[in-house]
Amino acid sequence: MSRLLAVLLFALFSSPALMAQSQDADKLIGVWQPSDGRSYLKIDKIGNKFYGRVVWLKEPNEEDGSPKLDKNNPDESLRSTPLKGYRVMKDLVYDEEVKLWLYGTIYDPKNGTTYNCKIELMDDNKIEVRGFVGTAVFGRTDVWTRLQKKK
């Protein structure tokens, strides 16, 4: 009986905390615009990890009219993949203690380089995205703005 009571008490007190944790983590989900305004990235979730994909490009085509491809991919066999729809942000996991999305990567199609990535929520509609090599000290930060639905 006391064991059952303990289980019930644990469930009562732990569920809201877990729910809050999940809600905090999911604040990253949405469509975001990097500061240069040349693309939109949609961040969604697979399992417990977050991924960002290019869903809009200001200049989606090359000069000859063909869609832009991932032509700088280090793996030659994947260079025919279109940039529109490409998953450039991968495997971010929310760390509840530091309130950051960590352990993931961000890919720069301009040079075919993958950087470590961490994201901090500044407010509900702004995130600070840092791409870095090795330690977070050596890197570049960009502020992305959430795309709002037109009312």
């Binding site: 417990n48 994909r53 290019v54 491809l69 066999s77 529109k84 729809g85 991968k90 495997d91």
Partner: protein, 163 residues
């Protein structure tokens, strides 16, 4: 004396090392998604066969398996899927392994069954042994679809040590 030790060492090494052999296993996937709109979309399937299940028919153990590659990935599209699908990108992810690309195809050629262009040096053994293993198909669409269930047939190449 030194020669004898060297010879005995060589014999011991040869006895311990096992030859690598290959086993080909076919795997069927059904990648599903709903409420799909024009643009970038995702279909997925939770992996239903872990490494043990895949190799048990061949009487192998996971300790024997060195790596699991992919030699072929075919995607079957029906006429309505084909009419709006522009490009395909097959990936795999699991709880403790990052999302990797297995194959891509852009643009799509004629025909209902298409062959993906495979990535170089794939080893999905860590994924098949991990929890949360998921097959992910990203596709760009030129139109909307309520839902899609796309069939894929993959040839896995299991490299294993012979006992």
């Amino acid at each position: 004396m030194r020669k004898i030790i060297f010879f005995l060492g060589f014999i011991a090494l040869a006895a311990c090392s096992a030859d690598l052999a290959q086993l080909e296993v076919e795997k069927n996937l059904m990648l599903q998604g709903e409420m799909l709109f024009e643009g970038a979309n995702t279909l997925s399937m939770d992996n239903d066969q872990d490494l043990i299940t895949l190799i048990e028919e061949a009487g192998l153990t996971t300790d024997q398996v060195e790596s699991v590659g992919i030699s072929e990935a075919k995607i079957t599209l029906n006429s309505s899927e084909k009419s709006i699908a522009e490009s395909l990108l097959l990936q795999i992810v699991s709880d403790n392994n990052e999302l990797i690309t297995l194959g891509t195809l852009n643009p799509l050629p004629e025909g209902a069954i298409v062959d993906l262009k495979l990535a170089e040096e794939i080893d999905i053994k860590p994924y098949l042994e991990d929890s949360g293993c998921t097959w992910v198909l990203d596709l760009n669409l030129s139109g909307d679809a309520n839902e899609m269930a796309i069939k894929s047939k993959i040839k896995l190449v299991v490299n294993y040590k012979e006992n």
